[in-house]
Amino acid sequence: MALSLSALFFLITSTFYIIKPVRESFLIAAKPSWWPYADLATALLIGFVVAFNARLLARLPRRTYLTASLLFFIAGVLLFWFIFNVHQRSLVTTPVVDPSGVFFLLWAQAMIGRFYTVLVIAFCFWTDLFIAMSVTQFWIAVNDAFDPHQAKRLVGLFVSGGLFGGIAGSAVAALVTFVRIIQPEDLLLLCPVLLVLALVTVNLVYATRAKPEAQAAGPASSRSVKVGYLESFRTVSRNRYLLLLAGMLGAAMVVASLINYQFKTVLKHAYASDQARTSAIAVFFLVIWAVSTVFHLLTTGRVLKSYGIRWAVSIAPAFLLACSAAVFLIPVGAMLAWAWVARGSDKTFDNTLTQSVRELLYVPVAPELKYRAKIFIDMFVNKFATGLGAALFLVLYHVRQFDYRADQPLAIIRETGLVTLVFACIWLVLTRFVYREYPAVLKRDLTQLWMDGQQVVDTRIDEGLVRQVFEAIQSRERSTTLYYMNVFNLVRRKNLTPELKELLGIKRDEIKARAMDSLFDVGGSVFFPGLEETITDSDFQKEIDFIFLLPSYQKIMDDRLGAIAASPSEVDRIEAANSISRMAPSPPTMEALARLLQDPSPEVVLYALNSAAVHRRPEHVPLILRQLANPMATAEARSALAAYGPGLEPLVAPALSSPDQPLEVRRAIPEVLARLGTQKAADILVAELARRQDDMEQPLIDALYRIRADCTEIRFRDRDLRPELHRLICKACDLVLDPPVSSEEFKALLDIRVRRVFDLLTLMYPREDIVNDYQHILQGTSRSVDYSLEHLDNLLDREDKELLFPLIEDLPAEERAQRLRKALRLK
């Protein structure tokens, strides 16, 4: 059945391409002032006929409808053959009233002669109607025969049928007219034969179709929710992207229409006889088909793949702009060649690149919106643009008096060329606007699916506060003093919520109640009942600050702190480590802190690290670095180092790359640098990544990702990152090509590798876009995965894409492996 349908498409397109040279040739033979009317007739009337056709489609059984419409076209083509035949004969012979009294023929001859141009225009309209309706009917037949999934799979076969039909039709027309076997109008006699074959094929298809009748009527009934033109117009007018798209497609149609008039002008001048002209046009279409096929096979895919839609969308308008400009430079002798190139390139692009680009530009539009927009663009914008092109030519024709200058074809095509040039410029400009909107429209549906863990922690949790709260609660078990110190530090940090105060036990009522039954008695001392009021009193807080600044206080502490820090009591050392954070950084105090940073008790070290974070002394950095290897203190050590802020980089960079440092220390440093968030830190991380040590890869990439997330102003050089990105992709490729035995392990490893690749991509491309694309590729719907891939296709550099896409596209395993091998070879 698929072959039958492919044959049907072959028959339809070959019929059209046999008729088309006749149509063009006969129209060109008419006075140029009539040419635009053919386009105007199509633009104005085809909508009504299509609407009428839709009614028929809804009312008649499908098979009857298709049979009737094919019979209508067979009758039509025979009628037009008769008209042209009678007209051609009347030009060479004088009608004779023969005794058999065929009066009708005489009358027809007279009428045809009188209204010949109008009949040619009617023929043009009929031809346009034929192709519009028969292509629609073909897809209706496909829809009736196959479900969408099957149809999608077979679309290549159907399109091939159409392609070969176009080539065969043009070849037959070219051959037959070139060898002058028959008159041009006699070409039309081939069409009923082909259409009868089409009729047989249609009936065969419906006789053997897989889907039952009820289902076959599906599309018509499913479209029962009709979308009016007004509604489709509103859809387009309210959407900036669709509006730009409609404008771009409209400008392209105007350019095509004007180039067509230029082409006709040249051909009218170049070929005097219908025979020669029809032959030339048939050859022209044959060449166009051949060139389009080769161009499509060799170029379209590659252009889209390598340069993306960004450049693909501009190629046709840029080329046609250049063609339109070239008309002002060519001599008369090159006019025909120019016309072939200009119209030929317009048609070739239209059949290949432009068509693909047009479909891609609709990708980001939601299906419902796309359906409505297409109605408006196909039914109104296209017709309007064709009509506008016709109207412009008509105006030029009369204003510039082309009628009297028919012997100056170059001047006519140049003057028309000026208008073409203007619309080609508009087209080109609109492509840029459309492209600028395109990623934004794609991105509209690619919202972030989830927040990064780090982002959640950073935005929703005050990590430092949580740590301090826990320290304060725990310190109640240790000593009242430590508890007070912690509560004081907490209160100084920020206003505590009533719930937090309750948790900490500093709420007034809570304290009273607990104090009464001695529940609150810790270490033999009862908590101070007025703690909340006192500790939250700003005057009290100020007084405490002043005490720490008192010279006498500092002097006493300089003398005593060393002894307290060396105390055998862990609590004393903890309290000392805690208090140092508020003390002035005198040498004895800092020495005591250094000692506490090396304390055997992890708790002492934790408090000492907090104090070190306050004083930020360079001499403490090696001691803090050492604590990075201590699992109980790693987080606090990282925080302490991060608190040093900009300027720390040269102090930790040597440790990052030193093989003498424990791996735990080296692996903890990247996060410290990430938290510094400086350009220098980023550069150090990139340089370390370039050393390509597997053990360091994950923390380095995590840190770089964090820097990008936190500090948008940091700049990364592509030339430093790209080799690393490609290395990561290659590692993922190697994994796919040589997977571990367990599929679970493979999937987990691949996920990690791909995640690292995307993390690194955030440094080279807009972070939010990359994150969203990654999330959708990982967990999106099939549609959002398509959007993400399309978005990445437009976003990423060609080289990056070629390596990455085989990894992330949904491909059969064999094809993926093949593409990966190819990508790796290229690399």
Binding site: F528, T534, I544, L550, S552, I556, R560
Partner: protein
């Protein structure tokens, strides 16, 4: 601030009343009074802070300056009956590890002999 001085054996007891704060500074500060006692050869001093309603950083500074001066001469400074609020201050500033703070004045007086 009102400071009454009394002697119990070789110990000078400062019974301090009111508030020790910067704004209430009079000609004679707590530290100057201690200095005067030191000049008189007294080395053991007890601050009875039971009637002190408020003490600010200036007051703490006075106590610390007194401590330093006494310490320099090998003497002893003790504090008794300090309010919970003052204790809180000392705890937060870790001065409770430096200063000898006694809950009861009699015990404080006794402790001069012991240590």
């Amino acid at each position: 601030m009102v400071i009454k001085t009394r002697e119990q054996g070789n110990i000078v007891v400062f019974d301090i009343e009111g508030e020790i704060r910067r704004t209430d500074t009079v000609q004679e500060t707590l530290h100057s009074l201690v200095e005067a006692q030191l000049a008189r050869g007294r080395r053991n001093i007890l601050f009875n802070l039971g009637a002190v309603e408020f003490i600010d950083s200036f007051g703490v500074g006075q106590i610390l300056a007194s401590y330093i001066s006494i310490q320099k001469l090998g003497g002893k400074l003790k504090l008794c009956r300090i309010s919970p609020k003052l204790l809180l201050i000392f705890q937060i500033t870790m001065l409770h590890k430096v200063l000898d703070i006694q809950e009861d004045c009699d015990r404080a007086l006794e402790s001069f002999g012991k240590s």
